[in-house]
């Protein structure tokens, strides 16, 4: 940093050191807040009973469309079901689908990316052309058509979104493989006869983590938004299974007398996306500060 005094690039935006300590602090805050949010949501998805004793499908005496109260924290929906339970149980469908989409998309994408990165020019070109093809369309539209064609249900949504998802991973991985391929330790590993997957796992992965982490955490949020979007139009988890997108859509009719029905599912989606993004930010900051100590 001291070297910035001489020959400094003349349009620096803000003093470098000041920003560093500020971002360190915010990194830590992000990490904590993000982990808490993500943890809460994941637990809600896996063990919803921990959060609520109510049954998301049972009808309650309070009647339909009763506002949030001490009895029903988020009120009841149009049929009289406890809405808090609906939202909590909704995490299961929504998050499971999102995680699956990212996992499958990443898996396929990594496979294709590694192949493209290691194979000859021809194969690489062809694969990347295919990737370009996919990436040239608005993904949501394609996924919608695909999911509709595959029939209702969570399986269709996961398949449809995964198919739309993998190309960007393929491109990312391929890029990283290509840039790392020529490093010395990789070349020597190849010379020793190591296969591409072994090389990726042992020699390249350590360098890829930061970017991958940033991408995956961001994607977990985007995936949920897309899953919820498909749920909103009626694809994905079918009633009575709660899912945040479909919950929100059902609540639209009651905007005037049941505001909680649209506010809370959307809030859940937003919180998850933010939490996951913060977690990713916190982790990458952590990793970066670890490395920069050694860099000079």
């Amino acid at each position: 940093m001291a070297s910035s005094a001489i020959g400094l690039p003349l349009r620096r935006e803000a003093p470098a050191r000041a920003r560093w300590s500020q971002s360190e602090r915010s990194r830590r805050v992000f990490l904590i807040v993000g982990s808490v949010i993500v943890a809460v949501f994941v637990i809600a998805a896996v063990v919803p009973q921990l959060f609520t004793s109510q049954n998301p499908n049972a009808l309650y005496a309070s009647g339909p469309l009763s506002p949030p109260s001490s009895q029903h924290w988020l009120g009841t929906d149009e049929l009289g079901r406890d809405f808090f339970a609906r939202v909590v149980y909704g995490a299961r469908a929504s998050l499971t689908m999102s995680v699956l989409v990212v996992a499958i998309g990443a898996a396929i994408g990594v496979l294709v990316g590694v192949v493209a990165g290691f194979a000859g020019r021809r194969v690489d070109d062809v694969l990347m052309r295919v990737v370009d093809l996919f990436l040239s369309f608005p993904g949501f539209v394609l996924a919608l058509a695909l999911a509709a064609a595959l029939g209702r249900g969570e399986r269709s949504v996961v398949i449809a979104l995964s198919i739309v998802w993998w190309p960007s991973y393929a491109r990312l991985i391929r890029g990283m493989v290509l840039s790392l391929k020529h490093r010395l330790h990789v070349e020597s590993a190849r010379a020793l006869g190591a296969g591409p997957f072994r090389i990726v796992r042992k020699h390249m992965l350590p360098f890829m983590w930061e970017q991958l982490n940033a991408r995956v955490t961001q994607d977990l949020g985007y995936a949920l938004v897309n899953v919820a979007g498909l749920g909103f139009v009626g694809l994905g988890a079918q009633p009575p299974t709660p899912e945040w997108g479909s919950l929100l859509e059902a609540g639209l009719q009651y905007v005037a007398n049941g505001w909680w029905l649209t506010v809370f599912p959307g809030l859940a989606i937003t919180l998850w996306t933010l939490g996951v993004a913060m977690l990713g930010d916190g982790i990458s900051g952590f990793a970066r500060s670890e490395r920069s100590v050694h860099r000079r």
Binding site: A228, F232, V255
Partner: protein
């Protein structure tokens, strides 16, 4: 330059071809045969049979594909099970409202995003950074349909300022049909009351879309302008005495626009993806709502048709933005790609 345009056009055609393959495959995935699907559920047996023959469903797949494309070229998109009409008829009915919404939203967005981005870049202080960061957070987290629902809740349910949805109140009558776009038609007919009503109904959907797009686009626009401000030739211009608006408009923006334009292309894609969601929230009678209804009622022909339409539009728009780049950056005109 010609070669560049030719290449882009070629790729656009490839993409169009790919979409038709996509919808073709989908038609075969749907349970039942494509003839049944495209004829719609309420169709008579004879209609289905005619379609069966027309699509060549007893012939090998490649032939079927060719016949399918042939049908597309003749704008035979099937029949809606719900309305009973040809999908093309339905589309013609619903399309104007979507065009109205999309054009207005996108125009407003572009008119706002670029100056806002430039402004936010010039003001490098805390306020601008905070503002941009907050909007970015909104953009990343909030789904567009939630934003719409919230607006509805606030401005309609709570404050009663704006209508809940639809292009016009249920009781109102539409202006005489010239373009199908109410805003234009009512103006042409001099029905200013209707005109005003349409505007009121447009406010919420447009605001939803514009804000959602700004949330994502503002940060990139600002980053792009900031990057340009750092360029050495900006200092050169200043050393000649150029400053203020002239500096920004003439020297900076031309170069800053290229990444912004490519982002615009991308965002248009988001917009196209969102119309279904936004139109559903606001019961806006456009193809998005048509799509939603079709999904609800397992009406596949419109679904496929709309997918083709939206994808096709996206391809065309991207082609146009690709052709704009050389205009903005003279270096691209001469370069051998």
């Amino acid at each position: 330059m010609i070669a560049y345009a030719g290449r882009r056009l070629g790729w656009a055609l490839v993409l169009l071809w790919a979409v038709t393959v996509f919808t073709f495959v989908l038609l075969h995935l749907i349970p039942g045969n494509p003839a049944l699907v495209l004829a719609g559920m309420g169709a008579k047996k004879s209609q289905v049979h005619a379609l069966y023959v027309q699509l060549g469903l007893n012939k090998p797949l490649p032939v079927q594909y060719l016949k399918y494309v042939e049908g597309l070229v003749h704008l035979n998109l099937g029949r809606s099970a719900v309305t009973g009409d040809a999908v093309t008829t339905d589309l013609a009915h619903y399309l104007p409202a979507t065009i109205e919404l999309v054009v207005i939203s996108f125009t407003i967005y572009v008119l706002l995003a670029i100056p806002l981005g430039a402004w936010a870049a010039r003001r490098q202080g805390r306020v601008a950074e905070a503002f941009v960061r907050v909007t970015a957070i909104i953009g990343s987290g909030m789904p567009v349909f939630w934003l719409g629902a919230l607006f509805q809740g606030l401005f309609f349910a709570k404050l009663h300022w704006l209508p809940v949805g639809g292009e016009l109140a249920i009781t109102a009558s539409a202006p005489p049909d010239r373009t199908g776009i109410y805003l234009i038609d009512s103006a042409l007919a001099g029905q200013w009351g209707t005109f005003w009503q349409t505007i009121l109904h447009l406010i919420l959907p447009v605001a939803t879309i514009v804000i959602a797009m700004l949330a994502v686009g503002l940060r990139s626009t600002r980053a792009s302008v900031l990057q340009e401000l750092r360029r050495p030739y900006v200092r050169t211009a200043e050393s000649k005495g150029v400053a203020g608006v002239r500096l920004m408009a003439v020297h900076v923006m031309k170069n800053a626009l290229n990444p912004v334009v490519s982002l615009l292309g991308l965002q248009f894609g988001f917009l196209l993806g969102w119309i279904c969601l936004v139109e559903t929230v606001f019961s806006w009678p456009g193809i998005g709502l048509y799509l939603y209804n079709s999904i609800q009622s397992f009406d596949y022909a419109p679904i496929m048709a709309i997918t083709l339409l939206i994808s096709g539009t996206f391809i065309v728009v991207n082609l146009l933005t690709d052709l704009i780049y050389p205009i903005l950056d003279p270096r691209l005109r001469d370069r051998q790609e």
